[in-house]
């Protein structure tokens, strides 16, 4: 049995930017029927083999509306990475993104890996946010940046693949408790846990 590392990834961004579309695309491409699906799109998992390990992304979607903003900390706490999504056709969503980055820097987990996804790049003719801006900003905060299209499955895989190594490096840092080696054994037990305790209802319903 391969060791399973779990990577909690949190999705942030304005409502309507396509957060869940990105996850759905990511999770549903190469859909593995052996993996019992989650009950809904707000929380999805995807397991990716990596060397002699399996990496299991636990993707926590958040509600982007302002009124739910205050709940976000509960979702991003403990995340190894945050994917912050904006809509390249909406300047506002880019501002919101900056707010998220700021909040994460202040209140988010230490060493959280941030990835910026400019979604809807298939609509670049009505683009409001130049890629250059995004890149500059990402560089300034040390984040990964990529323009994606959930609709056309562009760069989705790359986005998550990009997160992985960074997360793993970060995890090696001493003092990072997110996915430390000591936790690895416990994490290994997790899938069974889930399948025993959490999954069945999902399947039954």
């Amino acid at each position: 049995m391969m060791a399973i590392r779990e990577l909690k990834v949190c999705l942030l961004g304005d409502t309507g930017v396509g957060k869940s579309s990105i996850v759905c695309r990511f999770v549903q491409d190469h859909f593995d029927h052996n993996i019992s699906p989650t009950i809904g799109a707000s929380f999805m998992t995807k397991t990716v083999p990596c060397g002699n390990e399996l990496h299991k992304f636990l993707i926590w979607d958040t509600a982007g509306q302002e009124r739910f903003h205050s709940l976000a900390p509960m979702y991003y706490r403990g995340s190894a990475a945050a994917v912050i999504v904006y809509d390249i056709t909406k300047q506002d969503s880019f501002y919101t993104l900056k707010k998220w980055v700021k909040e994460l820097k202040e209140h988010g987990p230490e060493n959280i890996v941030m990835a910026i996804a400019g979604n809807k790049c298939d609509l670049s003719d009505i683009r409001e946010v130049p890629l250059k801006d995004a890149k500059e900003y990402a560089e300034s905060i040390g984040a990964i940046v990529v323009e994606t299209s959930a609709k056309n499955a562009i760069n989705i895989e790359e986005l998550f693949q990009g997160i992985r190594p960074v997360v793993l490096t970060v995890c090696q840092l001493p003092g990072n408790s997110l996915i430390s080696t000591s936790a690895a054994s416990q994490l290994m037990a997790l899938p069974a846990h889930l399948s025993a305790a959490v999954r069945p209802p999902a399947q039954q319903i």
Binding site: K19, I39, A41, S42, D61, S70, L71, A183, P200
Partner: protein, 1072 residues
């Protein structure tokens, strides 16, 4: 000999010291609790009666238990003694009288007169009884306890008598069956019996070859032949022609008496061969000195796995070879072998019989394989590792005894005998298939291997000779036809004969205690009359007891008869075995199928062996057992549900039958048998469940350190409602306690057999967590709920929620940000039902599962077949809407309960996600008004959330006290405001001065110079000097042998140091 016990004994991990401190009543010697050892007054009283009882051939009303003990508990202790009979007829008569007298439940305990354990020896009536094997003997006075008023139970146990009457199915088939079932074990979870068969088929072929001899005798259909073949291998000196004859008709009972199954031997002696902490070198060193075939199980540091080290004969070149043991989620198997086993014991037992991937079969050390009683085994086991260097582990003085031939293939009459034994843990007799067929209710005594049906069918076609047992006796007492809906709990103690376990069962508040043999013994004259403090002393005591027992029983060498002997007899671990028998009956036979899988019971026995159950709980457990994984999982927290298991038992057999018949083309007759056989599967209890149950029992046994911890904590919580300042505080403490106790359990040796031998390593934590829910949360559920409610009433959040719920309910979905289809009235009702079910659960995991079902339902409604996937943007508003519609204030406490108590490792998963969402939704509702005004949640809520997450993630990974070492809980006392507490991050090197500063900040104290940090301990207040280190003080307090209750309190210096704090009337209250 003590050496083994002590170190293994109650290691109290440092982390637990804190626990003790947290408990007002720490486990400590309590004269009331442990009077004169284990038994308690009742036990002693019973004990006193014992000699008289022992001399009685049959239970009579006087020796029946009088206390209104719960049936299951009693049944589990039952000793059934089956009198050997020469003719069925006479047996019936006897039995009838038994029944008439109300002695209903028995354990099949075969005791020959030679048996050192028999009380008869010391009892007055001994002579008479000794006269013949045929004379029915009451083996143990205590067995009387047995008898129960429960007809069902009694029927069941009665039926147990039947199988024994016949010499039966071959050892080979037994053995194979066991292999088969063992393999099945691994598969049952997956529900694929199919695979199982495929896997095993080849193995069976092999076995069959190896057992040609058996087969032949079987095929001849000669019961006699078989009996004799068994007899042949009997230990010398024990065979009596008489018995042999009796066996032919009767059960071969005597021929097998005193025989312990391999599994049994393994279970008893695991301290010898199961050496997980042993290094490769040490293991090699030990094995070098041993003859080929001897083995050890230890943990390889190289492979990070358990390995089976096998001593090889010289021809093999290397002196020994290691075989890695593979642990999958549910099973144990040898690397390279297709056969999986539910636990380590079965695995080893199997390889003692069949070599499979090994070069030859395993061999038990001579002393172990020749031990004649559990007591002897126990004695050996006490030596632990020292066994290997002790004289006990010497070669047989004579050429190897007949039953332990050294033939290289390990197959031979001897192994045949052992095959029989493996099922009949306690010398259970085999019988012919036909008899099995008839005795449907009892099933238990052996397995029928469906693959040997050729053999069986012969029997069948020959007309079923229904054992007399089936038909109502002359007395009419017996009702074999009504299938007992559920069997008496398996009395697995036998397996655990270890004194520790026995002890366990005894003395708690549990009713069954009294009946336990062991206890009885303890109370006996010679034994330790002193009050025994939980861990160590008790252990020692029990050890003594066991030792005494062993002595008496093993040699019979003690000249002095009388109580001492009796003590030995009763106390001997051997005493326990009989208890196992009721377990056999445990599996509820499908009511309808007349011919109940005979194997069922056998299987049961096998599977139960490894656990000791004695409590009433076991009954409940058994009931849920047939549910299999799927059902059981969902129900287990409701396992108190009654009666449903019976119907469900039916399903699996049928299913499996179909499957099987499709894979084998079998005649009808055979099919029907298979169907019966398949019932065996319904009796599978996962090792996980057995373990959970075992731990739950342990937790009720105050004789164990663990039991003390749990019981004391539970009662402490229940009695001290004021000990927590807030709901969170309370739940957190409980969670912390569970985590620490889990830690303790995984390190301590109180679990016997060790959890590692039953549960694959990656599952241990899961199993322990479940056990914690059962033994801590279950009893506390009511209290916790009440407390949560009180807290919420007190702090006004209940009211706030109530008002806001009303407001929110009046809004239409769009106002709440809902832009997806919402559940209609009917759906909301469904959801409410689920939430109500949730309230009945005590396990946070089960609750979360129901929450997930609710969420799933919501998704279904939202998606409404549109195929659209909804993310959190849409889901959260709908969830909020739904929760408001449900209008259940209790949800608030439910969510809180789950959030604080859920296993931290689950917090990142799906359950954690939706729990977070539900909490978020409730927060939104609670703050609805505020939100209306500010369109934002108050920062307070945000803080709460943040704190929650911090808390929960802190102890997520390393559940040990170290996690908490950087935290200091400080109470803040103010006039009129009572006490509020906060947990502060205080590193060990932080001085009191710094802590005061932090406190001033946290508690928003305006005039910090007026305040100081105090330590309240032993009813006194001490102001801490500025340069002291609170964490060090805390550590010191924790490390004291006696638990202390202490609090760090931040309060006004002016206050009376002796606890009257509410003096400064004019103090304005600072917020907490």
């Amino acid at each position: 000999m003590l050496a083994r016990n002590r170190p293994r004994g109650r290691r109290v991990p440092a982390c637990l010291r804190g626990l003790q401190l947290g408990l007002q009543r720490a486990p400590s010697p309590d004269p009331n609790r442990v009077p004169g050892g284990v038994g308690g007054p009742r036990a002693r009283e019973a004990e006193a009666k014992q000699p008289a009882q022992a001399s009685r051939a049959y239970p009579t009303p006087e020796n029946l238990p009088r206390d209104p003990e719960p049936q299951p508990a009693r049944a589990s202790r039952v000793r059934l003694f089956q009198p050997p009979r020469r003719t069925p007829g006479s047996a019936v008569g006897r039995r009838g009288s038994l029944w008439e007298r109300g002695a209903r439940a028995f354990v099949l305990k075969q005791e020959r007169q030679e048996s050192p354990r028999t009380e008869l020896r010391s009892s007055p009536g001994q002579g008479a009884q000794k006269t013949g094997a045929a004379a029915p003997r009451r083996v143990r006075g205590r067995s009387s306890q047995v008898c129960s008023g429960l007809d069902k139970l009694s029927d069941r146990s009665f039926s147990w008598l039947q199988p024994r009457e016949s010499p039966a199915c071959s050892g080979a088939s037994l053995g194979e069956m066991s292999a088969w079932t063992m393999g099945a074990r691994s598969l049952d979870k997956r529900g694929s019996f199919f695979k199982l068969i495929d896997t095993i088929a080849s193995e069976i072929g092999e076995l069959k070859q190896e057992m040609v001899r058996t087969d032949v005798s079987l095929e001849n259909g000669l019961e006699h032949a078989e009996t004799h073949s068994m007899v042949r291998h009997k230990d010398d000196g024990y065979s009596e022609e008489e018995d042999v004859k009796a066996c032919a008709r009767d059960s071969g009972y005597d021929s097998l008496s005193n025989r312990l199954s391999i599994l049994d031997r393994l279970l008893h002696t695991h301290p010898i061969w199961l050496q997980l902490s042993l290094s490769e070198e040490e293991a090699a060193e030990i094995l070098q000195a041993q003859p080929p075939g001897i083995f050890l199980v230890h943990k390889s540091t190289k492979m990070q796995k358990k390995v089976l080290s096998l001593r090889l004969p010289c021809e093999f070149g290397a002196p020994l070879k290691e075989f890695a043991i593979k642990e999958s989620t549910y099973t144990f198997s040898l690397e390279g072998s297709g056969i999986s086993f539910a636990d380590l014991f079965r695995l080893i037992a199997f390889y003692c019989i069949s070599r499979d991937v090994l070069p030859f079969t395993l061999k038990l050390p001579y002393a172990i394989s020749t031990a004649k009683s559990e007591a002897q085994l126990e004695e050996l086991a006490q030596m632990g590792l020292n066994f290997w260097s002790s004289p006990a582990d010497s070669k047989p003085p004579n050429p190897p005894p007949p039953h332990r031939p050294l033939s290289p293939d390990g197959v031979c009459p001897a192994s045949l005998r052992q095959l029989c034994l493996i099922n009949g843990v306690h010398s259970i007799k085999t019988r012919t298939p036909s008899e099995l067929e008839c005795s449907q209710t009892n099933g238990a005594l052996c397995f029928i291997n469906p693959l040997f049906l050729k053999v069986h069918s012969q029997d069948l076609s020959g007309g079923l000779k229904r054992p007399s047992t089936r038909t109502p006796n002359a007395n009419g007492t017996e009702r074999p036809l009504s299938p007992p809906p559920r069997p008496p709990p398996p009395a697995i103690n036998s397996l655990h004969t270890s004194p520790r376990l026995a002890r366990t069962e005894t003395q708690t508040s549990m009713p069954e205690t009294v009946n336990h043999n062991k206890h009885g013994n303890v109370a006996l004259p010679g034994t330790k009359p002193t009050p025994i403090p939980p861990p160590r002393l008790k252990k020692q005591a029990s050890f003594l007891e066991a030792e005494g027992a062993a002595k008496t029983s093993s040699g019979g060498g003690r000249p002095g008869a009388g109580p001492e002997l009796e003590l030995g007899a009763a106390g001997s671990p051997g005493g326990a075995p009989p208890e196992a028998a009721p377990g056999d009956c445990t599996s509820a036979p499908p009511p309808s199928s007349e011919s109940r899988p005979p194997c069922h019971g056998g299987r049961q026995r096998l599977s139960d062996m490894s656990i000791s159950t004695s409590s009433s709980d076991s009954l409940e457990f058994d009931r849920s057992m047939p549910l299999f994984g799927y059902e059981a999982d969902t129900n287990s927290s409701l396992e108190d549900y009654e009666g449903e298991s019976d119907q469900e038992t039916m399903a699996p057999p049928i299913k499996s039958k179909k499957k099987r018949s499709s894979s084998f083309v079998l005649p009808k007759l055979v099919k029907s048998q298979l169907q019966k056989v398949s019932g065996v599967f319904s009796s599978f209890m996962t090792p996980e469940k057995r373990m959970v149950r075992r731990i739950a029992e342990l937790s009720r046994d105050k004789c164990t350190y663990f039991g003390c911890l749990v019981q004391d904590y539970v009662s402490f919580l229940q009695e001290n409602k004021e000990c927590h300042v807030s709901s969170t505080d309370m739940l957190q403490t409980i969670r912390q306690f569970m985590t620490q106790v889990k830690n303790y359990l995984s390190q301590s040796s109180e679990l016997d057999p060790p959890i590692e031998s039953l549960i694959p390593e990656d599952q241990i934590d899961v199993v322990l967590e479940k056990a914690m829910h059962k033994c801590i949360l279950k009893p506390l559920k009511g209290h916790v709920e009440a407390m949560l409610k009180d807290f919420h009433m007190a702090d006004g959040s209940w009211k706030q929620l109530k008002e806001n719920l009303q407001l929110v309910r009046q809004r239409n979905p769009q106002e709440l940000g809902v832009f997806a289809p919402t559940p209609d009235f009917v759906d909301v009702e469904k959801i409410k039902v689920k939430f109500m079910t949730m309230q009945k659960m005590y396990s946070p995991e089960k609750k979360v599962m129901l929450l997930l079902r609710v969420c799933k339902l919501i998704y279904t409604v939202m998606e409404n077949n549109s195929g659209r996937m909804y993310g959190a943007d849409d889901f959260l508003p709908v969830l909020t809407y739904v929760i408001a519609q449900c209008d259940m204030l209790e949800l608030d406490t439910e969510i809180e309960y789950m959030m604080e108590l859920l296993d931290p490792s689950l917090l990142h998963g799906e359950g954690g996600y939706y729990l977070t969402s539900a909490y978020g939704a409730l927060s939104l509702i609670k703050n609805f008004q505020e939100e209306q005004a500010a369109r934002l949640l108050s920062s307070e809520t945000r803080d709460t959330l943040r704190q929650w997450h911090k808390r929960r993630t802190t102890n997520r990974t390393i559940p040990s006290v170290d996690d908490f070492q950087n935290y200091l809980r400080v109470a803040f006392q103010e006039v009129n405001s009572g006490c509020t507490g906060k947990t502060l991050l205080v590193k060990p090197y932080i001085t009191t001065e710094d802590v005061c500063q932090i406190c001033a900040e946290k508690f928003k104290v305006g005039d910090p110079e007026e305040y100081s940090l105090f330590l309240f301990v032993d009813e006194t207040w001490q102001q801490l000097a500025e340069d002291t280190y609170p964490q060090k003080i805390k550590a010191e307090l924790h490390s004291r042998p006696q638990p202390h209750i202490f609090h760090f309190v931040y309060k006004r210096i002016k206050n009376d140091p002796y606890g009257v704090i509410f003096q400064n009337r004019e103090e304005d209250l600072t917020t907490s």
